[in-house]
Amino acid sequence: MALVLEGITKRFPGVLANDNVSLSVAPGEVIALLGENGAGKSTLMNVLYGLYTPDEGTITIDGEQVVLGSTADAIANGIGMVHQHFMLVPVFTVTENVVLGEEPTGFGGVIDRERARSTVVDISERYNLRIEPDALIENLSVGVQQRVEIIKVLNREARFVVFDEPTAVLTPQEVDEFFGIVKGLKDDGKGIVFITHKLGEAIEVADRIVVMRGGKVVGEALPGDVTQQDLANMMVGRPVDLTVAKQPATPTEMVLEISDLVVLDERNVKAVNGVSFKVHKGEIVGIAGVQGNGQTELIEGITGLRPVLSGSVMLGEVDITDSPPRELHQLGVSHIPEDRQGSGLVLDFTVAENMILDSYYARPFSRGVLMDWDVTKEMAERLVEQYDVRTPGIDVAVSTLSGGNQQKVIVAREFERKVELVIAAQPTRGIDVGSIEYIHSQIVARRDAGAAVLVVSSELDEILALADRILVLYHGQIAGEFAPDAAVTDIGLAMLGSTG
């Protein structure tokens, strides 16, 4: 009849990740599990998939209590999961990935390749999931890889399927196709849990919406009865006001000029394909777009982290095409990188060391090769104070700080000098609301102090709140330019690539 989780509590040292959570899903039902990052959605699903053992609570399937001590248990009980980061072996074929763990074998554990292949073909025909069984995963697009994941789950005869943020990496067409697949599974009688933080999707695809916040279930709704605003309020716990208090922009001279920029990604595909735009002193230009439309490559191309194939980048009168990061730093470019922990910080370093990560080499922090730690510490103390970084001290490793405070360390470092141009990529991804507001106000303050600002974000709300001018990036090209008061639906359409 149904899968029921009851009173699930899961604690981690110092954190109550799930607090007495209950959830049920019936066959043929689609549940959207909605919540912000850190709301406890993933923990709950890991409990369901046998990756975590709950401290309290029970799981029952068809009225019978089950213990899910491992992923093998979960699979045996008919639970399947499509992870946000695909669990596929890139150098294996589609067939090998599908049968892995449940290989059809003959004598001596020899894999029956024919049987394995026909399993894949059968499922793909039955659910209309087009696939080439002998293709290597590494040669497939993300959307197709997701299909492989779904076939994997179906091959294990899952009755309940969990999708963790399934649309985060898909292009709009792929999203449509994906919703079709979900519908097919539902009609086939599968119970589906759909984890997301996108409100529109939850309303579009779910039969029932469950909202989590701070480790608890804070509300349930039927999609017909609620608006996006209602759900947003539930998710955040108070009416959200993402609008940032700011004066209208007074753009003056041109600071950054991008002309016909072409940048390749790792696979030598033109991820940025002929982009041109300008950013002026005193304005915030926001680049909106679904993740994976060339944002990363655009920023890396501008900031000298990735070679430019053709086109130019001008900073005022200076040609900075392919200039190394240090040169940009000296010219007054601030860069808040997309990947906070991957490139913005050295996690083993102290707060103070991270504060001088890109300016350590020059006065006043060093003379010749001799570092001056007194100056550094003094500055770090001041910045921690000024930028409201919540840390026990400047000598603790930055890895012990929360995400929001880590981001504030980066912002403090990047804003603490004369800045001509600010490039902020996903500046508030995955951090708490308080820190978001603070960082937004700092970005606006930089603009008002006379800097040109380029913000890239896949959160449209963030772009709408910050930008004085909005550019939409779609498939490596500018798909439209909008004023901040333009209709959201128009911007949305441009993000989906319809030039309408």
């Binding site: 695909f86 197709v144 299909r147 390749l264």
Partner: protein, 427 residues
């Protein structure tokens, strides 16, 4: 590939940069031209015009005796030089880029043959003897490489192979001296597996850096075997006299000229090694065990989410690999050298590691690399004996230089398993 697009195989607009393949072809083309020049200048014109080289193709013990080929040294090297030159020119035309490595291989083979013809000018030289010793010295190298790849395919780096070989050798000698060959081999297998278990335990249970664990195992093995050798073997010398391991002559096959003495007249160790290469290849690429092991080495988390016990697979592979190393140690001590000496492995475990990389983590690659490295060792011995004036030390360097060239990507990079060396920590 039009259907492939329909099936969702992505065919995006790919920009061809100055292809590394083309650059490689140019580099190798130039290398081949240089080789051709050396062959012509040194090997062809370094001998008198009428000098004759003789390669003996039979051993005194062979069924068919006195088989040999003789030819004019200068003519032979001249032809070789022309062929190498043609191969080089062909590479510079940057076509058929897939054949670049084959061209290099053929070029090097011709170079070596011309070198031998030069070295054997106006004398004779037992080619078959050299090839036979190549096979024998390839055994430990291949077994070492198989040990390494069995671990690394499952994501555990093992640089303790040297220590496993050495310990296996020690125990095999003592037990063989006391109870016979079978006990010796069994002892070698067990101690190899035990050290494998130690490596796995440190790396998996305690998350010790795998390279540190491997280094420590090597040091531990050197220390313990040397300690026990000078404390026990020096007093009880009868424990350092292992039973002789007889050769098994395979009927008919062993009588084939050249091939027979090379491959079909050896101790059982050699045959087992060849079978093991085939078995491991089949196992890794055709069976459930292999698929799971490789998935654990490539993407352990994916394996875990499918209910595969990552740590168990790793323990099993690393301990199983220890058996292979122990077998290699037993071969070294019982068949190849026939006694235990302190630090008798002398770095051969590291050549095995090199052969694993050179062979691209494939069992047949390991065998091929083992044979090539074994050949360069045999060549070094010959060169020292022939007194060619070329320092044999440079021959002995070859495996190591070749490995650096491979890892630097100069002749095509080999790609290790993606999760090689990364501890897997379950949340």
């Amino acid at each position: 590939m039009t259907t492939a697009v329909d099936l969702g195989v992505e065919a995006p607009e790919v920009v061809e940069r100055t292809s590394t393949e083309e650059r490689r072809a140019t580099i190798i083309g130039i290398i081949l031209m240089v080789l051709a020049a050396v062959v012509l200048g040194v090997f062809a014109f370094g001998v008198p015009p009428d000098a004759t080289s003789t390669f003996n193709l039979s051993l005194p013990t062979d069924a068919i005796q006195n088989l040999s080929v003789s030819f004019n040294s200068r003519l032979f090297s001249g032809v070789a030089a022309v062929l190498i030159f043609v191969l080089g020119v062909d590479r510079l035309r940057r076509r058929n880029l897939r054949w670049t490595n084959a061209a290099l291989g053929i070029g090097l083979l011709l170079f070596v043959l011309a070198f031998l013809a030069w070295a054997a000018a106006d004398s004779s030289f037992s080619l078959v003897g050299m090839l036979r010793s190549t096979v024998i010295s390839s055994v430990v190298i291949t077994l070492g490489a198989l040990t390494g790849l069995t671990c690394e395919r499952a994501g555990v780096i093992n640089i303790g192979i040297e220590g496993q070989l050495l310990s296996g050798a020690f125990v095999a000698v003592v037990l063989s001296s006391a109870f016979g060959t079978l006990a010796g081999v069994a002892g070698g297998l067990i101690v190899g597996a035990l050290l494998g278990a130690l490596l796995a335990w440190l790396a998996i249970r305690f998350s010790v850096d795998q390279i540190i664990a491997g280094v420590v195992i090597n040091i531990l093995a050197v220390g313990l075997t040397s300690f026990l050798a000078s404390r026990i073997l020096s007093e009880a010398q009868n424990l350092n006299a292992p039973a002789r391991v007889p050769s098994i002559r395979i009927p008919i096959l062993a009588d084939i000229p050249v091939i027979g003495p090379m491959f079909f007249d050896h101790t059982f160790f050699v045959y087992v090694t060849f079978l093991l290469v085939v078995a491991l290849h089949f196992g890794f690429f055709r069976t459930r065990w292999g698929l799971r092991a490789r998935s654990v080495g490539e993407h352990p988390k994916a394996a875990d989410t499918l209910g595969i016990d990552v740590l168990k697979v790793r323990y099993r592979n690393v301990i199983g690999a220890g058996l292979i190393a122990g077998f290699g140690g037993a071969f070294l001590a019982l068949a190849q050298i026939s006694r235990f000496e302190e630090n008798m492995t002398g770095g051969i475990g590291f050549i095995g590691l090199a052969a694993m990389i050179f062979g691209r983590w494939m069992p047949f690659g390991a065998l091929a690399a083992g044979l090539i490295f074994g050949f360069s060792g045999a060549l070094a011995q010959k060169v020292a004996i022939l007194g060619t004036g070329i320092p044999s030390e440079f021959m002995l360097m070859l495996p190591y230089v070749a490995t650096i060239i491979v890892v630097a990507g100069l002749v095509g990079r080999s790609r290790p398993p993606a999760a090689d060396g990364q501890p897997y920590i379950k949340q």
